[in-house]
């Protein structure tokens, strides 16, 4: 039972942590090396990891997806510790629309133009901070979705993840608030009911003990005197 509980909680924790890692915005220091548009025929596996067509368009099973090619600084620990090494990264650039994830992004075309405007060649690097969410996975052919591109002076820029800070503070406050609500509900609504039920249970118990006393004594009279 205890093992089952631990497993269940671990699974829930991993799922929620994975979801937050996928959905919360992250910042890459990178330089844009190119952009392209490819036609994607989504499968049941990778459809989940793409948004929908631009918000004014109709949704079809196959469509063009804007991609932004970049060379980015690699990092440790969710981007908090930056390394000197560089690696390639490809971002998709899709409208998230009104629903999920709630970025309310409708300006994919503008973002693509912004990516083109900040494109640079080796030797004359223009560094940018690319805000994005999502994962890159080669086997599933999925890309993180770029949300914003902001030109910066150099690769040593410090990015403070304000949104995530506010989000986690809110999450902690919400947790304690819900706990306070639950405790209030238990104290004022459930406990009195249980006390009533407890009293009734106690009365039934006494009654039963009385009967048990009588019947038990009768039963005992059939047993030998030393068995009890």
């Amino acid at each position: 039972m205890r093992k089952l509980k631990t497993t269940l909680f671990t699974l829930i924790f991993v799922f929620v942590a994975g979801l937050l890692h996928y959905v919360l915005p992250q910042h890459d220091v990178a330089r844009v090396t190119g952009s392209e548009i490819i036609r994607m025929d989504f499968s049941a596996t990778n459809r989940l990891f793409f948004a929908q067509s631009d918000s004014g368009n109709v949704e079809l099973t196959t469509r063009d997806v804007r991609l932004i090619n970049a060379q980015r600084k690699r990092s440790f620990l969710l981007g908090f510790v930056r390394r000197d090494a560089e690696g390639v990264m490809v971002y998709r650039n899709e409208d998230t629309g009104w629903i999920w994830p709630p970025y309310f992004k409708f300006d994919s075309s503008d973002l693509q133009a912004s990516a083109s405007a900040n494109m640079s060649a080796p030797g004359a690097e223009q560094w940018v901070v690319i805000t994005h969410y999502g994962w890159r996975n080669r086997f599933l052919t999925i890309f993180p979705n770029a949300i914003a591109i902001r030109p910066v002076d150099g690769p040593d820029v410090r990015v403070i993840p304000w949104f995530s800070i506010v989000f986690f503070v809110f999450l902690i406050v919400a947790f304690f608030f819900v706990r306070a609500m639950w405790r209030q509900f238990r104290e004022r609504s459930i406990d009195p009911l249980l006390e009533d039920a407890g009293d009734a249970y106690g009365r039934v118990g006494e009654h039963a003990a009385e009967h048990r006393g009588r019947i038990g004594r009768w039963l005992d009279s059939w047993r030998g005197p030393k068995q009890r």
């Binding site: 629309g97 709630p102 309310f104 503008d110 912004s114 949300i147 609500m181 209030q184 509900f185």
Partner: protein
């Protein structure tokens, strides 16, 4: 179409939050009133006086600003969404 879905589901979700906070806030106020009476009961007063005291306190609570502040449950997310919409799509 997406906007309609957002408004409908957002309204339903926030209404649930609103109802929960409404009951919670009322319950906390009632408990406070009960405690303040029990700590310092009026001389020679019976249970009816206690009930009247609590009833009056609850009426004062319902006509005060506090329960109306719970409407912020609708307003703050709306401001947040509009702010996010502007921040994301601003060039």
């Amino acid at each position: 179409m997406g906007l309609v879905r957002l408004v409908v589901f957002g309204f339903v979700g926030l209404s649930i939050v609103y109802a929960l906070i409404w009951f919670y806030s009322r319950s906390v106020r009632r408990e406070k009133l009960e405690n303040s009476w029990d700590e310092n009961p009026q001389e020679g007063a019976d249970n009816a006086a206690r009930d009247a005291y609590i009833k009056q306190g609850m009426e004062e609570y319902h006509s005060s600003l506090r329960p109306k502040l719970i409407l912020l449950v609708y307003i703050i997310p709306m401001i947040f969404v509009i702010g996010l919409l502007i921040a994301t799509n601003w060039n």
